[in-house]
Amino acid sequence: MSAIIAIIRRDLLLAMRRKSEVLTALFFFIIVVSLFPLGIGPETALLRKIAPGILWVAALLATMLGLSRLFAPDHADGTLEQMVLSPTPLGLLITGKIVAHWLTTGLPLVLLAPVLGIQFDLDTGALGILVIALLLGTPLLSLIGAIGAALTLGVRGGGVLLSLLVLPLYVPTLIFGAGAMEAHIAGLGAGGHLSLLAALLALAVFFAPWATTAALRIALE
């Protein structure tokens, strides 16, 4: 357990020393989301309708931005080898890295999204659903993304391949995440969509670290 906390602390410390990487993804999210209301103009009915899709697509792309750097620096400087040789099981250390990734990229999106949602004339209820859906969805994005990052580790042109590999896997998250808000706006209640998101998250928490570990072992051989 102390090894997991150590790796989370280390990755947060590294993120603090290299703020630009975290801030790039965050500003990307802010700018992409803000461009739509500026481009479309003050048509509140249309904005309310497209808000869920835009917020979620921007969140997916913002998460993608830093994904190729999830394991690459550790691979380049030999830290990954030391993690494999650690007495702590590799799966636990990888879980720690994924948690740190979510804390630096997912959590800021969750906190910013309601502020950005105001631009789309969303009411408090819809903003609340947005936050809950993102709280369930962004860890899912980090978990799925980690599998892709591990599979493309050390591959030339891995960045593009990573997008092609991971974005299709993000589709269920996008559908249920955006669907929760749309259902709420339409007055149908978001419970079903949120339950499905939570179920996906529970599945991913079990299987994603395992799949990531297997992919990393192959990459290191």
């Binding site: 102390s2 090894a3 150590a6 790796i7 602390r9 280390r10 410390l13 590294l14 020393r17 290299r18 380049a76 400087d77 030999g78 830290t79 080898e81 030391q82 993690m83 494999v84 040789l85 650690s86 007495p87 702590t88 099981p89 250390l93 290191l220 051989e221």
Partner: protein, 201 residues
């Protein structure tokens, strides 16, 4: 005691070595020699269980290392070409975090002592990227002084070190071997240490 029998390694289409046997017991060290590209690093990675051998088996205290996994990792300290040193962290942070990854707690005093021993006093709080190549290497080697491991596998530990640091490291290895430890290392320099065996590949 580490024994390996009938090891062979294939990289791409090329067979680097085949039918390699070796044994290192307590209080012994093994000097792996060979030309560039002979497969020294590949051999050390196989011995550290980082990559599987094409043929052959490695045993630690009579048990296959594959079955031992984490118990073997606890006894092993592997330092490869890449230092596993984070450029954005300070030497002190690097050392304590590496120890935590090894599942041990490193006291602040012993960390500072180890860094001082390798001539890094006064640079504990400077990010590693501001240090020279040799100093970076010293940060890495400070781990040898703090980590309690029986078997050291060191790939080119003398690279980029000055004469003083080379002496210091030789002393550290001699001390480790004399106290019943084992070491396997590659180096192009000759090593005047007692109880050494030479393996040419």
């Amino acid at each position: 005691m580490l024994t390996a029998t009938g090891l062979s390694c294939i990289r791409g289409e090329r067979r680097l070595f085949a039918g390699l046997d070796l044994a290192v017991g307590p209080g012994e060290w093994l000097h792996v020699q060979g030309e560039n590209g002979a497969g020294k690093t590949s051999l050390l990675r196989i011995l550290a269980s980082l990559s599987p051998p094409a043929e052959g088996e490695i045993r630690w205290c009579g048990e296959p290392v594959k079955a031992l996994a984490e118990d073997y990792h606890r006894a092993l300290l592997f330092l490869g070409h890449h230092g596993a040193v984070k450029e954005d962290l300070t030497p002190f942070e690097n050392l304590t975090l590496a120890a935590q990854l090894d599942g041990t707690v490193l006291q602040e005093e012993s960390a500072l002592q180890a860094l001082a021993r390798f001539g890094l006093r006064g640079r504990e709080d400077l990010a590693v990227r501001f240090l020279s190549a040799g100093q970076k290497r010293r940060v890495l080697l400070a781990r040898l002084a703090v980590r309690k491991a029986t078997l050291w596998i060191l790939d080119e530990p003398f690279t980029a070190l000055d004469v003083k640091a080379v002496d210091m490291l030789s002393g550290l290895i001699a001390e480790h071997v004399a106290s019943g430890g084992m070491a396997i290392l590659t180096s192009h320099q000759s090593m005047p240490l007692p109880n050494g065996k030479v393996l040419k590949i």
